[in-house]
């Protein structure tokens, strides 16, 4: 393979991975934008999606791409319930306590799965798990490309929902200025609940999408929480469009880094990028518009 082809191949597979990071990151960014809370249990909520979709596959034989239709609403209610029971009571507490609470939740979820299912690596082997298709000389993973499409559809619908629908506008208004939103009659608490539900549903879907290509184990969530942080900080915290750009950028950076630097340090690239952004432009690489 010529160097140019290798580069294009790396770039494209990086974009596909980036799509998944977008799916994971926008939920976190949405939640932060509306509630000003960093959810450290974000990756663990993805884990819930992974296990749910795994269960639907092994028990009922439902394909992970189909079970999205079940996973998304279930995770919406899981997220809404968590918001109501745990997050709402600390909404006025100190930032440290809010963060610690979500850290506690992440420990409970991941270790709960450890207790229930053991530390085994499980996987969902579909007929297409390992299949690739060719664009000329370039090969692309079929499940990754499908997830990219799903992410595309979901982010576009999220964008339209936030821009056009009344609830979406109310969510944006709450993110923009909570007090002002409440003054014109928006129920800011309800918007927080909805945003948390949507954010959880989005990351749950990401869990489903990961199932055919990744291992399912109790520790799978944590690293993705970090990826979600990197994505949101790169894009500017609370910015949806920023999170899209941040996700794709992270995917490409990791993919290029793995090929041209070292595959062992692939996961460190995003984190170094993150520290670099904090040093140079803490408002994120893509301006600071909220939502």
């Amino acid at each position: 393979m010529s160097p140019v082809l290798i580069f294009v191949q790396t770039l494209l597979s990086g974009l596909l991975t980036g799509g998944l990071y977008v799916q994971i990151g926008i939920g976190l960014s949405l939640i932060f934008g509306v509630m000003r809370i960093i959810n450290f249990a974000h990756g663990e909520l993805m884990l819930v999606g992974m296990y749910l979709s795994y269960a639907l596959f092994t028990i009922f034989g439902i394909d992970p791409f189909l079970s999205l239709i079940i996973v998304a609403p279930v995770l919406f209610f899981v997220g809404a319930a968590i918001e109501r029971i745990f997050i709402q009571p600390v909404s006025r507490a100190k930032e440290e306590n809010q963060i610690l609470l979500t850290v506690g939740l992440s420990l409970i979820i991941s270790n709960g799965f450890l207790l229930l299912f053991g530390a085994d690596y499980r996987n969902v082997t579909t007929s297409y798990s390992g299949s690739v298709f060719y664009l000329g000389p370039i090969s692309l993973s079929l499940p990754m490309s499908l997830s990219f499409l799903v992410t595309l559809v979901m982010t576009v619908s999220l964008y339209l929902f936030l821009m056009k629908s009344w609830t979406g506008r109310a969510i944006r208004a709450t993110a923009e200025d909570r007090e002002a939103a409440m003054l014109i009659g928006i129920d800011a608490r309800r918007m927080g609940l909805i945003a948390f539900g949507i954010g959880t549903a989005l990351v749950g879907v990401a869990g489903s999408l990961l199932d055919p290509i990744y291992y399912i184990f109790p520790g799978a969530g944590g690293p993705f929480t970090l990826k979600a942080f990197v994505v949101t900080v790169l894009g500017g915290m609370g910015s949806i469009t920023g999170a899209m750009a941040g996700g794709l950028l992270l995917g490409v950076a990791e993919s290029l880094g793995a090929v041209y630097l070292s595959s062992g340090y692939k996961d460190a690239i995003g984190l170094l990028l993150f520290l670099g952004v904090l040093l140079v432009k803490p408002s994120g690489l893509f301006g600071r518009s909220r939502l």
């Binding site: 963060i99 850290v103 996961d267 040093l279």
Partner: protein
């Protein structure tokens, strides 16, 4: 100040006598773990409690201390204490860089950056196999001491110095500046408190003592790997004593350490590898129902009682 010092020296007297009755078995091991948790919790509390800067990546300093001490011992044949000091110095350097990047920013960036730092170090420890042997870990074949009670007194020394430092900081000008920063950064800044400078000092002191405890851990356990020294769970373990005992109080982390060491050792057999579940439940319960921790809640209770009209 005098009261706190008196309590500290009284506790020291009691702790000095422990090996006389605890034997050389599990009980003494338990007390060594307890001392380590006290030292780590107190060190974390300096930046997380006093200055209110939530660090969720103190495993970075712990791991640096552990790896520096172990590598100095294995590769350069440095005697134990020198390796432990080396780890402390190294973590000062890293803390300086981290603080300089993060403390100019407001918001949750510090918490995120500390996690990123710990994770980067974990990946380095995992991948730099020629130096660290990756996830195989490093084994110290020649123990530093032959008796457990010697380890106990080493741990007691580190813990005592750490708590003493916290007591002195708490009642010094530095302590008041840190409290001012914690309560209201803008107000403190407008009164001329040097935010960056004081937050940095608190982080440096905290990182240094955390690394000392990390170095001690390496020699005591005799084995380190990335999974036991540089994980998020390790970081959370350092946050817990302060949260449970009373964040920002001098002795809160010690009280919290007693609670979590007892619970986690007592319930470890029950939950096996999932014993972090207990930590999660503890954090959530404390934040929801007792956000000031044990000592904080007691303090409020006393103040209310004293103020109540008779």
């Amino acid at each position: 100040m005098k009261k706190d010092l008196a309590i500290l020296f009284l506790a020291l007297m009691i702790m000095i006598a422990v090996p006389l009755w605890a034997g050389e078995g599990f009980l003494l091991h338990f007390f060594i773990l307890l001392l380590m948790n006290i030292a780590l919790g107190t060190a974390w509390n300096l930046i997380g409690g006093f200055a209110g800067q939530l660090s969720l990546g103190h495993a970075a300093f712990f791991g640096m201390g552990a790896y520096a001490a172990t590598l100095a011992h294995l590769r350069w044949n440095l005697p134990g204490w020198q390796g432990i000091w080396l780890g402390g110095m190294l973590s000062l350097l890293v803390a300086l860089m981290l603080g300089w990047i993060c403390f100019r920013l407001k918001g949750p960036y510090f918490a995120l950056a500390t996690i990123a730092l710990a994770e980067v170090l974990r990946l380095v420890a995992q991948n730099w196999k020629e130096m660290t042997q990756g996830s195989e870990g490093l084994l110290i074949l020649l123990p530093l001491f032959s008796h457990k009670s010697q380890f106990y007194y080493a741990a007691l020394f580190i813990t005592f110095v750490t708590v003493l430092a916290a007591t002195l900081v708490r009642h010094s000008k530095l302590g008041y500046y840190l409290f001012a920063i914690r309560e209201d950064q803008e107000a403190a800044e407008s009164l001329g408190v040097n935010l960056l400078g004081y937050k940095l000092i608190a982080l440096l002191v905290s990182a240094f003592f955390t690394a000392l405890a990390g170095g001690f851990y390496a020699f005591y356990v005799g084995f380190i790997d990335p999974a036991s020294t540089l994980t998020v769970e390790r970081s959370v373990e350092m946050v817990l004593p302060a949260i449970i005992g009373g964040i920002g109080t001098v002795f809160g982390p010690a009280v919290g350490a007693v609670a979590i060491t007892g619970l986690s050792e007592g319930l470890r057999l029950w939950f096996l590898s999932a014993h972090y579940l207990i930590y999660g439940v503890l954090v959530v319960v404390v934040i929801l129902f007792m956000p000031e921790g044990i000592l904080g809640s007691l303090g409020m209770f006393w103040r209310r009682k004293r103020r109540a009209p008779i």
